[in-house]
Amino acid sequence: MSCLQTIQDYALRAVTTDPDWALRALPKSDFTLCQQVTLIGSGLIWNIYFGVLALLAGFFFANALAVAKGAKSLLIRKPAEWFIFIFRGSPLFVQFFFGYFVFLSLKGVSPFFTPFTAAWLGALIVLFCNTAAYSGEIFYGALRSVPRGDVEAADAYGFSGFTRFRRIIWPTALRLAWPAYTNEAIFLFHATTLVFFSGFPAWQQKGDALYYASYFADKTFNPFVPYPILAGFFILLTLCILGIFGLINARLNRHLPQERRAKVKFKPNLMR
């Protein structure tokens, strides 16, 4: 079987809905390099799906959490503080298990919760809450480090209330938080590899990149091929994220003189 044929067969294997496709078995022996690259790349679709959706939805919730955590009212502040504490203080792996079993119990109560026990929704919700908590903490820190002068200048110009927040405080905070938020995004994409190892079942052998990599490593008993392939894919993905976030960072900093712009660098000092 030529490599082109393999790509045609397996490139979308991880996400296929066609019943014939679903039945198309994974290769069982004589694994070629092409098969491994194609299938692991196919699994990467799931990593991107989880990462992108959780990040997009989490961004909005994180902002709300950050504002709520900085609120004066105890009634608003405490729930946000607890939410952030719970999701930042416990391992994502345990959160996945807990979430899965909660959804499984709820499924027994009402069939409405059936899709929640599948990875595409259930794991996405856990990842969404998780990234919202981590980014919420980053944004909270950024909101608190907005220079006083900026706020005073806004006051002097007659800004107040929501307008002041939207036009002055929030853009500055976002700009300050962006390098740390980039790290968070990278670690979120890395965290998506946990999904299929933590309770959520992979139906019809449709899993993420690590699922296929470990499949090959188990079958060939040779970890030196699939895992480096996976590593290569993830390094590419990381570079893409850095590129996209760098562009956004450039736009957020476009009013500043060149030397004062914060560079987006991969700084794991602010880790999850």
């Binding site: 391992p91 298990f97 807990f98 390094i235 990381t238 880790m271």
Partner: protein
């Protein structure tokens, strides 16, 4: 466990639960909590050691050593840690067996990789198939510790590398002016001073390390996740050791609370250490302490 547990008929409600939660299997769960603490106690210094060597290599004058150090830091950081866990456990195992095979069975001339199999002579198996169960468990646990140390060593290396660069340049220049060699100024001036700069990063790393401990489950160690999954599951009534429905949710809730308490406790302790180390240092933290005192 308790004296009233002797008569199963008399147990009701809370007393039943108290007895049930102290059965032998539950004791294994509690022991595995100790395993997590043991893992942390061994891994943290080991990772720090790896990190120290990594950071020293990354700032070495020799190009190959520098590339090795920087490559180690960059690769481990760029790839999901769980992929490394899955990779290293097999790779280390095969590496050890391969070396033993070369040393112990020189007469063996068949290839080691036969298709999808990894074949070494019986004497090179690690651990030997004749060894008792506990040796297998200790071997698995040691592999896990080594894997954790390699992965988190890279993160620690990055933190320490940054900390070494944060030590004011004037300090090193003074050391050179006093005629210290590069080695002397490294050990006597740089290393003692870098810790206060490294502390925020290392505290963060400690938190990440705590939150990575449930991944032991993936490395085949019977840890808290394994026992929670095992004990919480509802079994068929006939064979059931577990007289309850699907309680996995509650067991994992317990785990969640355990980790929350643990991270909270660590946070408080690390806060205190930071305060103590900042005392009298020329950093913003030290300055704030000085201002508060006067």
């Amino acid at each position: 466990m308790f004296s009233y547990c002797a008569d199963p008929e008399a147990l009701e409600g809370f007393t039943w639960l108290a007895c049930y939660l102290t059965t032998g299997k539950h004791m294994s769960l509690y022991v595995s909590l100790g395993v997590v603490l043991l893992l942390l106690a061994i891994t943290a210094p080991a990772a720090l050691l790896f990190g120290f060597f990594g950071a020293s290599a990354a700032r070495s004058k020799l190009l190959p050593l520098r590339l090795l150090g920087k490559g180690y830091i960059a690769i481990v950081r760029g790839v999901p840690d769980i992929a490394f866990f899955l990779f290293f456990v097999i790779a280390l195992d095969q590496g050890i067996e391969y070396l033993r095979h070369k040393a112990l069975c020189p007469g063996w001339n068949e290839p080691i990789r036969q298709g999808n199999d990894f074949v070494v002579c019986t004497a090179a198996k690690m651990p030997l198939s004749t060894s008792p169960q506990w040796v297998h468990e200790v071997y698995g646990f040691s592999l896990a510790v080594l894997t954790f140390a390699i992965v988190f060593g890279a993160f620690a290396a990055n933190v320490l590398f940054g900390a070494m660069r944060a030590v004011p340049r004037a300090q090193i220049e003074t050391a050179e002016a006093y005629g210290m060699t590069r080695r002397q100024s490294f050990w006597r001036i740089l290393v003692p001073q870098m810790w206060v700069y490294a502390l925020p990063g290392l505290s963060n790393l400690w938190m990440v390390l705590i939150k990575a401990t449930p991944l032991l489950f993936l490395l085949g160690v019977e840890d808290i996740v394994y026992w929670s999954k095992e004990l919480g599951a509802a079994k068929l009534a006939r064979y059931s050791d577990y007289p309850h429905g699907d309680w996995r949710m509650w067991y994992f809730l317990g785990l969640l609370v355990f980790y929350l308490l643990f991270t909270k406790l660590s946070e408080i302790v690390l806060e205190r250490i930071t305060r103590r180390l900042s005392h009298g240092q020329a950093t913003t933290g030290g300055e704030a302490l000085r201002k508060a005192a006067t």
